[in-house]
Each structure stands twice: as C-alpha cells, then as structure tokens.
Amino acid sequence: MTRTITLIAATALLSLGACAKKRPEVLPPAPVGSGADAGAGVADPNAAGGAVVPGSDADFQRSVTSNTILFALDQYDIDAQARSILDSQVEWLNRYPNVRITIEGHADERGTREYNLGLGDRRANAAKNYLAARGVSPARISVISYGKERPVALGSDEGSWARNRRAVTVIIGQ
C-alpha cells in the first residue's frame, strides 16, 4: 500500500515535470520508504482515512506497540522495553506467516559515517536475532543499515539523539 502510494506520487511528480519547462538539473524525488519517512511510532497518515489492508505495513503499525525500538549510546542490546515491543511484533508476524520484513538499523549523528553503518547493522541484527529467537523465521527478515543518514529527530540534543538510535521494522510484503 505504501508502495502504491509512493508510485502514484512519483508518477504525479513525473507528469508535472513533463509539463514544466525542461530543466537539466531538476532533482528527482527524495528516496522514499527508508523508515525515516514514516517516523518512529507514528501511524501512517495514508492509513488514517481508508481501510487498512490486513498484513500491510499500515496494519502492522496499527497493531503493534511500536515498529521502533531504541538503543543507548553506542549500544545494541535489547532492553526490557525493546523486548516488549518486539514481542508485540512477533505476535503480529505469527498471524501473517508469509509476510517478509526489513529491519532498518540507525545511529545518531555523534558517530562517524562509516562506523555508524556498522553500528546500524549491529542494531538491526540485534532486533533480527531477538525475533528469530522468538520463532520468526530468519528467512523472512532482511536487514539494512542507514547509519546516521536518515534521522527521525532533527535536533542536536539528547532527546533527538535518543530517538535516532533505533531499529525500525518495516513490512515489505508477502
């Protein structure tokens, strides 16, 4: 569903571009669906009005405690709050055993770029390992690290940094 909307948006932009005067340096739309776009724990606004398709990412976000778990500075261990969130995700994933997911790992801006790619991978894998230990088949789970490239909170303060050190579970379909 998210994907469909994205495509429609992209098509709309393209047709606008076609109508407009040709400019060589027109920037393409921003990368989409990186998790940052949805925002941690924020319901998909597209899902608000219409029917939510069972098994979709909107359904997932509405049903689980959160799609996002947070980490301490430079850490990647799954704490009690993260466990409870992931447990709610396990429950939903067990209901839709054919659904595949991607776990995005993120870091705050206080690490260097390359190190944060490794750190994001660590966090995504920590979440993956927990889900797998609770019975979700690892074959259903892919991971991707965004390092510090896609923050959800834009400030340079403790509160923002805490929100950005995260792993986000995204439904990618059957």
Binding site: D74, L117, Y146, E149, L154
Partner: protein, 466 residues
Amino acid sequence: MIAPVLSLSLMLLVGTASVPAVQEAPPPQPALQQAPAQAQPAQQEELVVDVEGGVQPGAQLSIAIPVMPAAAVAQTPAGSTDALGRQLAEVVGNDLRNSGLFDPLSPGQLRQPSFPEVTAPTFDYWGGTGAQALVQGFVRANGDGTLTVGCYLYDVSTRAELTRQGFVVSPSDWRRAGHKCADMVYTRLTGEGAYFDSRVVYVSETGPKNRRIKRLAIMDQDGANHRFLTNGQSIVLTPRFAPNQQSIVYMSYIGKTPAIYVYDIGSGRQRLVVQNAATTFAPRFSPDGRYILFSMARNGNTDLYRVSAQGGQPQQLTSSPGIDTGGSYSPDGQRIVFESDRSGGQQLYVMNADGSNQQRISFGGGRYATPVWSPRGDLIAFTRLGGGFRIGVMTPNGSGERLLTDDWQDEGPSWAPNGRVITFLRSGRGTSGKADLWMVDLTGVNERRIPTPLDGSDPAWGPLRP
C-alpha cells in the same frame, strides 16, 4: 566531459633554444641569460617560504601576479587570449592565496606588462610595489588549436629568474595551465610538492536533514569545473578516486542494497564490486589501483576485506569481533591503517596488507576514527571524537599526535597530493545540519571553506594530474 587522454603537456622552458614555440616569444636577450642570478654573489638570503611553523596572516610572502599578456590577441573556444591572460593571473593568485602562504597583490593595482617584458621584468617598478616575488606569463593561441601558457618566477630583490615553465593545453583546459603555473611557484618557493592541479570528488547535499538528497560531484580543487555525476535518487557516500583518476569507488543505496560501486568517469557507467547480499562500505583503492579495500557487515559484525578492482572473490583481512572499518593503505601498499572498536571504543590500528601483525597505535582520550595515510607516508590523518569531532594527525607508530581543527563536527579527512593540506567535512548543529567542505594545512593555521554550489560532505582529494 574531460577526455581521459589529457592534452596538457609540459614544456620546460630551459634556455633559449629548447622550445621553438617559446623561444620566439619574448625576444629580448638579456632577460633570458639569467645573468643576474649567476653573476651576483649570494649576498641575500634565498627567497623561500618556510612552511613548517605555519605562516600567520600578515606574514605571508608578498607576490605580484600581473595580467599575462597575449602574444597576439586571438579568439579561442575559451575566449580571447587577452581575457585568458587576465583570468590565468587570477587562477594563479587564488591558488597561492588559498595556500595561506602567499599574499598576492591585487592585480587591479599592478601595471600590465607588455609581451616583451615577460622575460625582462621592469624590476624598478616591481620593487616599488612591495612584492618580494613576481610571476609573469604569457598566453598564445597556437595554429593547431592549442594554447601555450608561459610562466616565469622572479625574485624581485635579487632581480633573478628563479624558474620557468611552459604548458600546452587545449583551450578547455586553460585553468589547468594556471594551476600548473601556481604549482611551479609553490614548489619552487616552499620546497613542498605540488597540489593545485588536482580534483576533489565529494557528495553534494541538499534538502532536509531526514531526507537529504546526496549526489556524487566532481570539481577542481578550487571549486571550478563543477559537475554532478549521479542524480540523487539513491543515497551515495564516501567516494574516493582510483589512483589513475579514471574511476571513483563509492557506496550507494541503489536498489536499497547498500554496496560499493566503481563509477567510470569517462563513460558514466558504474558496476557493483562485490556480488553479495551483505552490506559493503568504506571502500578505498590500493595505491597501485589493483585492489579495493572495504568493510563488510554481516550478522552485526564488520570486518575488513580486499577484492580485486575487477571484482571476484574478496579476501578477509580482519576477523575480530567488533566493527573494523575505515581502512586506508600506506603509499607503498605494504600496510593498512584502520579503526576498530574491539577494545571498547573506536581506536586506530596498523597491520600488514595481508592482515597480519595488527597493532593499536592510538591511545589518547576519546575515540579515533576515519584514519587516512598521507601520500608522503609520514603521517596518518584521523577524526578524533570526544566533545566534538576534530581533525588531527599522528605518525604511523602513533606518536606526535596533533589536532588541527576545533569545531562542533569535523569529520573524514582526505589528503592533498602533496601531503601538506587536508580536506574534510564540517557539519553544523541542529535542524539544518548543513555540511560544508573545508581544508586545513598541517600547521592548522590556514583553514578555509571550499565553495560548492550546494552543501557538501565526504570530500576526497585526487592525485596530482599528469
């Protein structure tokens, strides 16, 4: 598009007869004899710029770089030769000023030498300007469509010619002749290696912090000839030149599969380096261009690998639990410096190129990241984390650590080809989080921003162009 085969050739204008093209230029004989320099006893100290201690503002070498006259006014694809003579003097002046070591006199206040004066400077006049050194040159459009740019350096007080060079360039490469001229002046007066005729590849940034659009871009080190290489549809990170400058290795999120790619500058084509589902990043060429050193994250663990630049099976170099990344070869290709958090936080390590003999070299407070070996081999530049991010250098055995910058977030150093200047990215605090490209010299005194059309990050300085 810059053709891979360069049409710039270097002529040494030695004596009067070696190069006919220049021989016929300024006719007067006295200047070409270089008699004053040899005849005069060496009473005065040689004109030299001491780079070691750092040159404070106000103490730079005063240098005059007047408009370079044209042998004859002629139209070229890059404009008329007399306009080029003006612009060339500006290119030379800007390069030297940006080095922080020279104080070029304003060209508008200087007389424009006639063509014959190029090899016979009016020293009485130049002595009155306060200039210690004088750079004169000329421009000529050749019959075959090329340009010849002559470049002469004089010591104003001894009235001696110190050196001269001539460059034959295609009109589209006219700025390179200016950079080569500035390099000649810089190397002759400082004793350091050249670096002005070089390029920088970096990531051009625009848009909000949470949806930043990032595009590969390439430009001359002074910001000219800027060109975008990718369209911004995918996140791109950490581009680095191949030693032959014909390709760039970088990381891209194309297809939502973060991996390293080699981008061919001539064709604009790119190819995946390692066929693997795992995340590959932090790529860097070996000095001979045969290998690409990179990091691969698998199951939460990151190790260093190398792979043939043509692709194929990667060879694993480190296997410690932890994040090993940021690998960079020594100039002889025998060793690798990298960062690892195996001891807890990020620290710097040096190992042999095959992964053996891993030794920690950083022991200060805070964390150390993004090490890069100097092309001269004598130093390693790094980012030190603790409070803010700062750029520093240390020797390959970890001694002699010095921090060069002090700002909120300076990250990702990359060396100029002469190993005396470092470019890096500086990020701003807060919601905008804008990043810019900066450079600093080894003394830490001369720090300045590199102008870019948009924001910029991850600069990588290329080698000196041939």
